[in-house]
Amino acid sequence: MRSPVAAAVAIAFGLVVLIGYLVPAGFPGADIAYMVRSVLVGWAVILAGVAALVGVLSLFLTHLTRITAKKNPDRYSILVVAAFLFTVGLGIYEYEFQPSAAQFQKVVLAVQVPVEAALMGLLVVTLTFASVRLFQRRKGLMAGVFIASALVFLLIGSGLLAPLRQVGPLAALLDFVQYLPVAGGRGILIGIALGSLTAGLRVLFGADRPYSG
């Protein structure tokens, strides 16, 4: 049995925030609704910060457990734990003893940015291979349409067809074609928005409880 108190709190706070968004400006009580909404959202932001801290601590403890595991200890976790302790130690020192933490930010970014850039490079290679293998994975009309549209919009976006804009009717045609991905994207986003709406309402009705209480 899930806790009815947790559900009641979630539903009540959700409804108050929703009303804060949907009450039209100038409506009696609108100012109070906006104020209550902003206070609740502020609390939520603080909670999110605490949750991030708990999550990071949980990550640290998971890797600590892996290092000390009797069966198959994970040696890579030593790197994670050492990097974590070094970063936390340096951060505390900088914020405590230096007027600004600019040096600390610089050190962290000097490690993080190249590592993420390397992963982006890896991603480019992965995507290139995936596009080559697309016809092995997916057969049929849709795969052909996907590849054709990717090539067409790549060509238009690259600016190689810019000289064609000098030819009267072609300029209008190119403008029309350029709008097609925007229209398609909006269509997909409308579907996502409707799905999000029903998912939110399920939480407000207590039918979907992403908490055990």
């Binding site: 990550l59 890896l122 995936a130 579907g191 029903t198």
Partner: protein, 251 residues
């Protein structure tokens, strides 16, 4: 938002809420609803069954959207999927593992796992380490998830939530392990990447159909019907808006 936008939003929310209440009535909820076949979801059900029988692990990755961000609805679907999969696999030797890229999601995934095991009368199987924060930034999230896919004998991967194009690295890792991977995201860039890289992917609002196809309950099936109704309402509003704009009437 101006007055008209606020009112339209209000109408859509009230209409959806009303429909959800009506379609959840006991008499109507018994009505059999037939859904179209989505091969990716059929494949997922088969793969979950195979994983439970053969002792493989199921890995669910629920994205990096904070529960406070506008893109959190996909995370709610992910958490519901975690709940269903944990219940399906409560008899399995290897409990499912959940990874996420946000602190709140990792806490909620742990809580969801605990709730699912409690519902299945198998609370002793609950291990908080199975709901993990893989990394707090998009690429650290991917970097933290790759070892899970590679080294924890995962045979089924469900990647469901808010991802960026970097999700391709996860799909590729699953592919190299010959593991089943179903991937879906609410982000357009990730959907395009997943269409090219994943064997099984969901496009657009198909993501929100997953709980209904995993038989999470009548309210999820009602939600799909409501989405269909609202889609037509939005189409009608768009046509009406276009006609009014052509006539020179703007708000």
């Amino acid at each position: 938002m101006n007055m008209v936008q606020t009112l339209l939003g209000l109408i859509l929310v009230v209409l959806a809420a009303g429909l959800m209440l009506v379609l959840s009535l006991p008499r109507l909820r018994k009505a059999k609803r037939v859904f179209r076949t989505i091969p990716a979801l059929q494949g997922l059900r088969r793969s979950i069954g195979r994983s439970v029988e053969e002792g493989g692990r199921i890995h669910v990755s629920i994205g990096k959207a904070s529960i406070f961000s506008p893109t959190n609805a996909s995370a709610l679907v992910g958490l519901n999927t975690v709940d269903r999969i944990a219940q399906f696999s409560s008899v399995s030797d290897r409990p499912p593992v959940v990874t996420s890229g946000d602190g709140t999601l990792s806490i909620l995934s742990q809580d969801t796992l605990r709730g699912a095991y409690r519902a299945a009368n198998a609370l002793e199987q609950y291990d908080p380490e199975r709901g993990r924060l893989a990394g707090p930034t998009p690429f650290s999230y991917v970097a933290g998830t790759l070892p899970v896919i590679r080294s924890e004998r995962v045979s089924t991967n469900v990647l469901l939530g808010n991802f960026g194009p970097e999700v391709a690295l996860m799909v590729d890792a699953a592919d190299r392990q010959n593991a089943f991977a179903l991937a879906a995201s609410d982000a357009l860039a990730a959907q395009a990447v997943l269409y090219a890289t994943a064997k099984e992917s969901l496009i657009g609002e198909e993501l929100f159909a997953l709980p209904a196809y995993l038989q999470s309950g009548p309210v999820y099936q009602a939600s799909l019907t409501i989405q269909d109704v609202l889609r037509w309402v939005v189409v009608a509003l768009m046509i009406a808006g276009t006609v009014l704009a052509v006539l020179g009437i703007t708000f």
